[in-house]
């Protein structure tokens, strides 16, 4: 399991899946899977900023950084490095 994965998983499970994250693969697209929509992603960003004390720049607001649990973890690792 990647660093940060448990926290990210918990957040997504609580916020978007209402507790049911067992089938969610860390490489699965959150957008294509209909888990997060364009307003949901703003909530995700607020959470990342507050919880991990990072600042997400506007040009980092791209699906490549935020579309899967794995990409979110990788993005976080880069930001907190």
């Amino acid at each position: 399991m990647m660093k940060y994965e448990p926290e990210i998983r918990r957040f997504i499970a609580e916020k978007y899946l209402f507790g049911d994250d067992q089938e969610l693969k860390s490489e699965a697209s959150l957008l294509d899977g209909g888990i997060i929509d364009s307003t949901g992603v703003l909530e995700l960003i607020s959470y990342l900023e507050e919880h991990f004390k990072i600042k997400v720049e506007d040009d980092e607001l791209v699906p490549e950084n935020l579309d899967t649990i794995a990409s979110i973890c990788a993005f976080l690792s880069r930001k907190t490095a």
């Binding site: 364009s38 949901g40 506007d58």
Partner: protein, 659 residues
């Protein structure tokens, strides 16, 4: 309008009694409190509850032809009845009332089922042709008036509302159908012809149905026209808007035909302001207008209503749809809608019609249909922008157009950027037939994560969109993006949601008839030949209609940004789900027993609501959808409770069972 009901005995006959018809008519009391009537013979029973609007003294139904071999029950209006009547009289037909209803009977004598081709109106009717022992049903072009049917034990039953069929006790107790629920939780409504109840069907708009002992013949007499580019009018917007003005004037004029005063809804938007302006300028200076106000500014359009009322000097009345009132009325509204609703938006319409009824008004003109016909919805603009951007996805300038779509929702630079990125990411390709709607449907379908395991198993690989694909016209994929989007919106949203849950049901619940001039089929036929580029010019939605009303409305109304009609969800339900009316259907046990939703997930959603943290658009739809489904289950499936009503006093009684 009125309520209609009927039973046809396809067997040997002689089984139908007044006791079968009475509960069906009683269940429609709200649709027609003024008069009741029935016709009964060995093979058929027809029942009617009347809201008197035309010919108050002698218009009670059922109504018959000269030799009493043809009988009709009608819900609705045939607006071109004076013209049709004159023609029929010259052919020697004798009338005994001054109603539009009687015109149908004689035109049916002349043309049989083909009579429907001549009507301009909103209607659902049942005709009993005693000579042919045949029942003939028909429903208007768009489905402004409802009509349902069911068949069981040799009986064929029809009625204006499902509750009337259930009240007959001649069909099995109702059960909710998983596939139909899947449709509602994808499209906001069931597909045409489908209801959420097993074995109960809807007669589709623009269809007629012939029923006798030997056959069932369903006939489509009208469909939303599609014209390929080669057949567009050559005119420019100016001439087009002049012709639209002529058509709208006439559509409004004939919709004011009534022997009671006709009011008008005034929301403050372009559509209802335009119709109200035509009425007050040309037909009735003192028209009474009605509008809804909301507690929260985000939803409220009171300022525009006041401005229009002052501008037109009409007698405007406001109804305040407070959140507590919306919550309190929600169960009653679900009872009338007869389907789960993913929005609370029907409720204010219900409150408004109650208010209209209290002011002694029975009929109102409304702006329904303008967005569909003239291209007003955001989803149309969204589809056009996505199409434009996806042709050159690498162009940053093109992508910025996304920011112009929803300026009220995505306000900050960050929100705009995020929205843009995710619209670009969207995977629905331009060639996809549901290109315009897939983003919305996929978003709505996220609510299905609340379905229980059993429900998911039952549905297995069922796909509501696949089923819809099979219903599309053969040339659908060749049509332009706007025409495809308009078709989907007309077929799904307009008929089964807007005209039902926000239209007929909410008005008739309080004995009020709505008349939407924009849905005069002459206007739709005309607009189908207007090039899509004029309908939405650049990003200017309803361009033709704005041009049409330019000379009669203040610029602050024609130029304002579209404000979609919405009602609050979160603030309506927060803290109120443990009150009477909700508590008994929303407990964990009740949700488990109902079996449709996962009680744990629903529990977490309710907890989230009560924690005060804000809910997303999808969560709002989930709340409304889950609560209304649970209510509906309690009201119709667990035990249908017949509304308390006194014994019927019949104004018309025709019993031909003997001799």
């Amino acid at each position: 309008m009125c309520g209609i009901a009927g039973i046809f005995d396809a067997g040997a006959g002689g089984r139908i009694t007044v006791a079968n018809l009475a509960p069906m008519v009683r269940a429609l009391e709200h649709r027609g409190p003024d008069q009741k009537g029935f016709y009964l013979d060995k093979d058929v029973g027809l029942g009617h509850s009347r809201l008197s609007i035309i010919d108050l003294t002698s218009g009670a139904q059922p109504i018959h032809n000269e030799d009493e071999t043809i009988w009709i029950v009608l819900n609705g209006e045939i607006y071109n009845y004076p013209e049709l009547r004159r023609r029929l009289e010259t052919k020697g037909h004798h009338f005994y009332t001054n109603t539009d209803t009687e015109v149908i009977v004689h035109l049916y004598e002349e043309k049989g089922p083909g009579c429907v081709d001549e009507f301009n109106g909103q209607f659902a009717f049942g005709i009993w042709d005693a000579n042919k022992k045949t029942l003939f049903l028909a429903r208007d072009h768009f489905g402004i008036c409802p009509l349902y049917y069911a068949e069981h034990g040799g009986f064929f039953l029809f009625a204006s509302e499902i509750k009337s069929l259930v009240a007959s006790k001649l069909i099995p107790p109702p059960a909710l159908n998983p596939r139909a629920l899947d449709q509602v939780f994808t499209f906001w409504t069931t597909l045409p012809g489908v209801t959420v109840f097993d074995h109960i069907e809807e007669l589709k708009p623009g269809h007629s149905f012939t029923i006798n002992a030997y056959e069932r013949q369903l006939r489509k007499y009208w469909d939303i026209p599609y014209c390929p580019p080669g057949s567009y009018w050559p005119d420019h917007p100016r001439e087009t808007s002049e012709q639209i003005m002529d058509l709208l004037m006439d559509a409004t004029r004939i919709r004011l035909r009534a022997d009671v005063p006709v009011g008008s809804y005034l929301s403050g938007g372009l559509d209802s302001s335009g119709i109200t302006a035509l009425i007050s300028r040309h037909f009735n200076k003192h028209v009474q207008t009605f509008g809804v106000r909301f507690e929260e500014q985000e939803f409220d359009e009171g300022g525009y209503q006041k401005e229009m009322a002052a501008f037109l000097q009409v007698d405007h009345h406001e109804l305040s749809a407070r959140n507590a009132l919306i919550a309190e009325s929600f169960p009653e509204v679900v009872w009338h809608c007869e389907t789960p609703v993913l929005r609370t938006a029907p409720v204010p319409m219900y409150l408004l019609s109650r208010f209209v009824h209290e002011q002694g008004i029975k009929v109102v003109c409304t702006g329904e249909g303008a967005d569909e016909v003239f291209g007003g919805y955001d989803i149309f603009r969204e589809a056009l922008v996505r199409q434009f951007v996806l042709r050159r996805p690498d162009s940053p300038r093109r992508a910025r157009l996304f920011e112009r779509l929803y300026p009220q929702i995505f306000r900050t630079a960050r929100e705009k950027k995020s929205y843009r990125e995710f619209m670009l990411h969207d995977s629905a390709g331009i060639r996809e037939p549901f290109f315009s709607h897939l983003v919305r449907w996929n978003n709505t379908a996220r609510i299905k994560q609340f379905f229980s395991k059993n429900m998911r198993m039952e549905l297995k690989d069922y796909s509501a969109t696949d089923e819809l694909s099979r219903m599309l016209p053969a040339d659908f994929e060749q049509r332009d993006t706007l025409s495809r989007a308009q078709y989907l919106e007309d077929k799904l949203f307009l008929s089964n949601y807007l005209l039902t849950s926000q239209g007929d049901r909410m008005a008739m619940a309080n004995s009020v008839e709505i008349r939407p001039p924009y849905l005069d089929f002459r206007i739709i036929d005309f607009m189908s030949r207007v090039s899509p580029r004029w309908k939405i010019l650049g990003l200017d939605e309803k361009h033709i209609l704005k041009k049409t009303f330019g000379p009669v409305l203040p610029p602050s109304i024609t130029k304002r940004t579209k404000h979609p009609y919405r009602a609050p969800i979160q603030r309506v339900f927060v803290g109120r789900l443990r009150t009477d009316g909700f508590m008994d259907v929303l407990s964990e046990r009740k949700i488990r027993d109902t079996g449709i939703f996962d009680p744990e997930k629903v529990g977490r959603l309710f907890k989230k609501l009560d924690s005060g943290s804000s809910t997303s658009e999808t969560e709002g739809m989930a709340l409304s959808g889950i609560i209304s489904t649970q209510l509906l289950y309690g009201q119709y499936v667990l035990g249908y409770v017949e509304p308390k009503a006194a014994d019927i006093k019949w104004d018309i009684q025709v019993d031909k069972r003997v001799g």
